[in-house]
């Protein structure tokens, strides 16, 4: 594994930085690299907080609520608010896709309500949805 592989792509970081800045602003190469490393560290740190919560609750799968909770714990309230809305939209999109697949495949799955208590079931279902494709999200 090379150094480049363990960081987020610097082109994506640079593009994002430009989006938020005025057109006359410039960014030095070293600044991009520093933000790239900070962003990678951000992901590792949030992941660590989320996985600790999973272990405390005797769960094996890190899900979206754990990510949301980790952001709140770290004091990143603005991020948590936006991620909460994003999670809601994501699950709506997944439910629509699942229903579409169910309609076309004519399977007999029972309907699930979208309540907090079903979070674990949803996580399991999401893994299976991904599993049907070529890639796997479980290690």
């Amino acid at each position: 594994m090379t150094d480049e592989d363990r960081l987020l792509p610097i082109a994506n970081v640079g593009r994002l930085m430009k989006q938020i800045l005025p057109s006359n602003a410039k960014i030095s190469k070293e600044a991009k690299q520093t933000v790239q490393e900070c962003a990678t560290e951000f992901i590792s740190f949030v992941t660590c907080e989320a996985s600790e919560k999973c272990h405390r609750e005797n769960r094996k799968t890190v899900n979206g609520d754990d990510i949301w909770w980790a952001l709140s714990t770290l004091g990143l309230d603005n991020y948590a608010d936006a991620v909460g809305r994003h999670l809601h939209k994501y699950r709506e999109a997944e439910r629509e896709r699942t229903e579409h697949n169910k309609g076309s495949n004519d399977s007999g799955n029972e309907k699930e309500t979208n309540t907090r208590s079903d979070v674990q079931n949803q996580s399991t279902k999401f893994i299976r949805v991904v599993e049907k494709g070529s890639s796997s999200s479980a290690r």
Partner: protein
């Protein structure tokens, strides 16, 4: 590690621009499938943590969105710092100064190596509540051996998580127990 920060998180003069940033940033939520960062790369970074065994499909998706916000937030604050010195170019020292001065970025200071290759002269005075952090963290990439994550996060492991021999069995187990998840092997 506990990061409960109730201090004010930004200088008053920056409030207006940052609020504007957050208002605009929210619009990015509208497209659920639009990702700036590759999901596969984020998943790989998540798995650097040995405690992470399984990841729901939604988790790297959300982390991608959170990371976008983080990059934009850090960039905006760095730009404000550069502006204070009447510069149009963001430098590494601007980013380092923002990390030092912003409370919500505490975790970046605690976890990065402390030794500095070069002294960094911060243009702005440090904020009072971070007066004890005189040194600016040096994120020089050359100091890290290949494959090393920058400043390994301090993980308070709660016992050893027993691996399950069969992955399909683990899923079936989770189905059987519902929201409570699996409790060891059956």
């Amino acid at each position: 590690m506990e990061n409960n920060n109730n201090n004010h998180q930004q200088p008053p003069k920056d409030n207006e621009q940052l609020k504007s940033f957050w208002s605009k940033g929210m619009e990015g939520d509208l497209n659920v499938k639009n990702h700036e960062f590759p999901i596969s790369r984020i998943k790989r970074i998540m798995k650097f943590d040995p405690d992470v065994s399984m990841i729901a499909a939604e988790a790297p998706n959300l982390l991608s969105k959170a990371c976008e916000m983080f990059v934009m937030d850090l960039t905006m604050r760095s730009w404000l710092h550069a502006q204070e010195s009447n510069r149009l170019t963001i430098r590494k020292s601007d980013v380092d100064a923002v990390v030092s001065q912003t409370v919500i970025f505490d975790f970046l200071r605690d976890d990065v190596p402390k030794d500095e290759g070069e002294p960094v002269v911060a243009a702005a005075d440090p904020v009072d509540d971070v007066a004890d952090h005189v040194a600016v963290p040096d994120l020089n990439n050359e100091e890290l051996p290949p494959g090393t994550v920058i400043g390994t996060p301090v993980c308070y492991g709660l016992g050893i998580h027993a691996p399950h021999p069969q992955m399909p069995g683990a899923w079936t187990e989770e189905d059987a127990t519902g929201a409570n998840g699996g409790n060891g092997g059956n």
